[in-house]
């Protein structure tokens, strides 16, 4: 049975037409007095850890390292930086996108 197994790499990010499917659209919503992003949507690779999303917002908002930032998924919990964007989208996404709220204070604990 092992030998029948071809080295299946179809799930790997491909370099051509299928690469579109390997990205997730994230919709960002500001909460409270948090500054607004210029672009409220971003496409992020499914294989990227959530850490990259945090880094993206920090960069966009030109935040310093000591400024706090909280990112919430569905206004419920802060995903771990380690979590894969693709996993979050599969489980918590809706309408073909993942909604992430960002806030400079702990809005939902």
């Amino acid at each position: 049975m092992q030998q029948e197994e071809p080295n299946n790499t179809t799930e790997e990010p491909a370099d051509d037409s299928s690469s579109k499917q390997d990205k997730v659209v994230i919709l960002f919503k500001a909460v409270g007095s948090t500054p607004l992003l210029k672009k409220t949507k971003a496409k992020i690779n499914t294989n990227s850890p959530f850490r990259e999303v945090i880094g993206f917002i920090r960069k966009q908002l030109k935040m310093k390292n000591d400024q706090s930032l909280f990112l919430y998924c569905n206004q419920a919990f802060c995903p771990n930086p380690d979590e894969l964007v693709g996993d979050l989208y599969k489980t918590f996404g809706s309408d073909k996108m993942l909604v992430i709220s960002y806030c400079n204070t702990a809005a939902w604990g």
Binding site: C78, P81, E83
Partner: protein
């Protein structure tokens, strides 16, 4: 299931909660700036606990032997791989210590923090916050609602955390009663953890209640990781190699971690896709 089966299940959970790992912690030799070499630091840590709980005592043990010292720069490594402190110690042990040598030998660093791999844990409150958020994620999967965690009093949060740190299952269960949610259970929080290309992956693979009741551990893995090398890959849950015939719902009841996730560790992984 008969009554005796149920009693036995809770006994399994009790045994799992008693599990602890003997750790031998050394400091990386090129970080030692004193003439003397420090003794290693030995400690027992509960499987359900988290590495940053050791931060203070490890720091105190090695403080005299290093020159540059930033309190937040402490991190742990095992054979060249960064240990992700957001995962329970037992999960890290199952994934990294595939040779099962005891005590488990790990290295502490006070320099060159790997910011691309992990976040800094500035104090114990950071790890508590991370734990509570993982718990919220689990509750959101289960009931689509995290209100019961949000309503948890500061005292109960502390009690919950102390229970995890000190292996107190009764205290944990008592607090759990406080945040028990109503409604039908939607998804069971399950993660598959494995090491591939020198990095530990932590995949979220939740499953509906119906599916959980129908699957065994083996049939579930066949579904989510059909291309794993069945002969080669080991399946470890809470330090145990369960039979692949084990019903998944039993495993969730008996072997979930205090953050409500069932962590299924795969070791000896070459390729999963």
């Amino acid at each position: 299931m008969t009554n005796t089966d149920i009693i036995r299940d809770s006994e399994v959970r009790r045994q799992i909660w008693k599990g602890a790992i003997p750790l031998l912690i050394n400091i990386s030799s090129h970080e030692i700036t004193s003439l003397q070499t420090p003794y290693p630091f030995y400690v027992m840590i509960p499987r359900q606990s988290y590495l940053p709980t050791l931060g203070e005592s490890v720091r105190n043990h090695f403080v005299d032997y290093v020159s540059t010292f930033n309190k937040s720069d402490l991190w742990f490594e095992c054979q060249g791989e960064v240990l992700k402190w957001n995962l329970p110690v037992g999960v890290l042990f199952d994934v990294h210590n595939t040779s099962h040598n005891l005590p488990w030998s790990i290295t502490v660093h006070f320099n060159a923090f790997p910011t691309d791999k992990i976040y800094k844990c500035l104090s114990e409150s950071d790890v508590i916050w991370t734990y509570l958020n993982t718990l919220k994620e689990a509750m959101y999967l289960q009931y689509n609602n995290v209100n019961s965690i949000m309503m948890l009093s500061k005292n109960d949060q502390t009690k919950l955390w102390e229970a995890i740190k000190d292996n107190k299952l009764n205290d944990y269960d008592e607090t759990k009663e406080q945040f028990k949610a109503d409604g039908t259970l939607k998804l069971h929080p399950i993660r598959i953890v494995y090491e591939l290309n020198k990095e530990v992956k932590n995949e979220l693979v939740p499953l509906s209640d119906e599916e959980v009741k129908a699957e065994t551990l083996g049939s579930f893995l066949q579904k989510v990781k059909p291309n794993r090398d069945v002969e080669r890959t080991n399946v470890v849950v809470q330090g145990i190699k369960p039979s692949l015939e084990t019903p998944l719902d039993w495993l969730i009841d008996a072997c979930s971690h205090p953050d409500q996730f069932l962590y299924i560790c795969l070791t000896n992984v070459i390729n999963l896709n």
